[in-house]
């Protein structure tokens, strides 16, 4: 089994995300992003550090804010068995 930097196993149902990368590209702090999304900075921090997978409404808000499809923010390595 291959593990990423945060120790989460690929294909185990845990998502990876590009939130930090997108936030940095927009030159926002975690606090600013939290304010725009209407959540706490701890929530943003928890998502970026793979400790929390956001709810669907929050993921959709992130997608709208960055103008990027949800599946390009959150990457799932699951694939159906053929």
């Amino acid at each position: 089994m291959i593990r990423n930097a945060s120790g989460s196993a690929q294909g185990s149902g845990k998502l990876e995300n590009r939130l930090k990368e997108l936030r940095m590209a927009a030159a926002w702090s975690q606090g600013e992003l939290a304010l725009r999304l209407g959540v706490s900075r701890q929530t943003i921090n928890a998502v970026e550090t793979d400790k929390y997978d956001p709810s669907l409404p929050l993921a959709l808000r992130m997608s709208k804010l960055f103008g990027v499809p949800v599946d390009q923010i959150f990457i799932d390595h699951w694939a159906p068995k053929s």
Partner: protein
């Protein structure tokens, strides 16, 4: 076979952080107790030497683990944070131990004589809840302590205010849990008849706790709700297993006596450990 893509150190498991926190509280309490004895001019006994050695050993172990875990980039900041937390812990430990002995010294002796060990455990757990509540309240007074700061990102005033409020309500909730346990243990030991005062105080503490939980649920966002939901679910399953095992043992003739005080202590311990573990796992600290 497992492979590692990135050489970065994986995050420590939440249970390990929780163990560190409880050990720090224990060692700080030990130091506080010794300082209290020194200030009161009491003689040190053999057992006190053991407390000093144990506290020193715990501090050394924690300091070693923390130093290893701190990233090089902000090690100084982390060491300062750790030192301040330890100092605050020692002061609270000293005050807490002194207050407990002053207020409940006779009660402790009576309970030990009557072998009311679950009541004693309840008072100690209540003290732990109250200490954690006081630590939360004190830490919320320091801007650097109230939230996990990513890198050098400054904490805005709004966020500081918001986190302080979160700490305040969480501390009040824990204080109410401490009161629930303390009141039940103290007034429940020799109930000769209905004690309306104890019942009214207990009901007020329960109502206070529910109010704090409700306010926290309404006020904070989905991360807090996720932590609460998970902690409640895990606690429920653990208590359910305990009750099923107890019912089975009793029905099958093993006649296990289950003291109401034992039920409270076990449930509250499960709740405390589960909540802290789930919070740490979700990066809330």
């Amino acid at each position: 076979m497992e492979q590692t893509i990135d050489a970065a150190r994986p995050p420590r498991p939440a249970i390990s952080k929780l163990a560190d926190f409880l050990l720090l509280l224990l060692a700080s309490g030990g130091v506080g107790y010794c300082i209290g004895k020194l200030m009161a001019g009491d003689d040190f006994e053999v057992g006190d030497g053991g407390i000093i050695l144990l506290s020193a050993a715990i501090f050394s172990l924690l300091a070693y683990r923390q130093l290893k875990a701190f990233p090089q980039a902000n090690r100084k900041q982390e060491v300062t944070r750790y030192a301040v937390q330890t100092g605050v812990g020692a002061i609270i430990g000293m005050a807490g131990m002194s207050a407990i002995i002053l207020l409940l010294g006779d009660t402790f002796e009576n309970m030990a004589e009557q072998a009311l060990y679950w009541n004693l455990a309840a008072i100690l757990l209540a003290a732990l809840y109250i200490l954690v509540a006081l630590v939360l309240m004190l830490l919320s007074a320091n801007k650097k302590m109230v939230a996990t700061k990513p890198g050098d990102e400054p904490l805005s005033d709004d966020e500081y205010k918001d986190t302080r409020t979160l700490f305040f309500w969480a501390a009040l909730g824990m204080l109410a849990y401490g009161l629930i346990l303390g009141i039940t243990a103290i007034y429940g030991k020799d109930a000769g008849g209905p004690n309306w005062f104890a019942l009214a105080t207990l009901c007020s503490a329960v109502a206070g706790q529910w109010t704090c939980s409700y306010i926290l649920w309404r006020r904070y966002d989905e991360l807090y709700r996720e932590v609460t939901r998970t902690a409640c679910a895990v606690s429920y399953v653990m208590v359910e297993i305990m009750i099923v095992v107890w019912a089975g043992l009793t029905l099958f003739g093993f006649s296990v006596r289950f003291d109401p005080m034992a039920v409270l202590v076990i449930m509250m311990t499960i709740s405390l450990v589960t909540t802290l573990t789930v919070s740490l796992r979700h990066g809330v600290r």
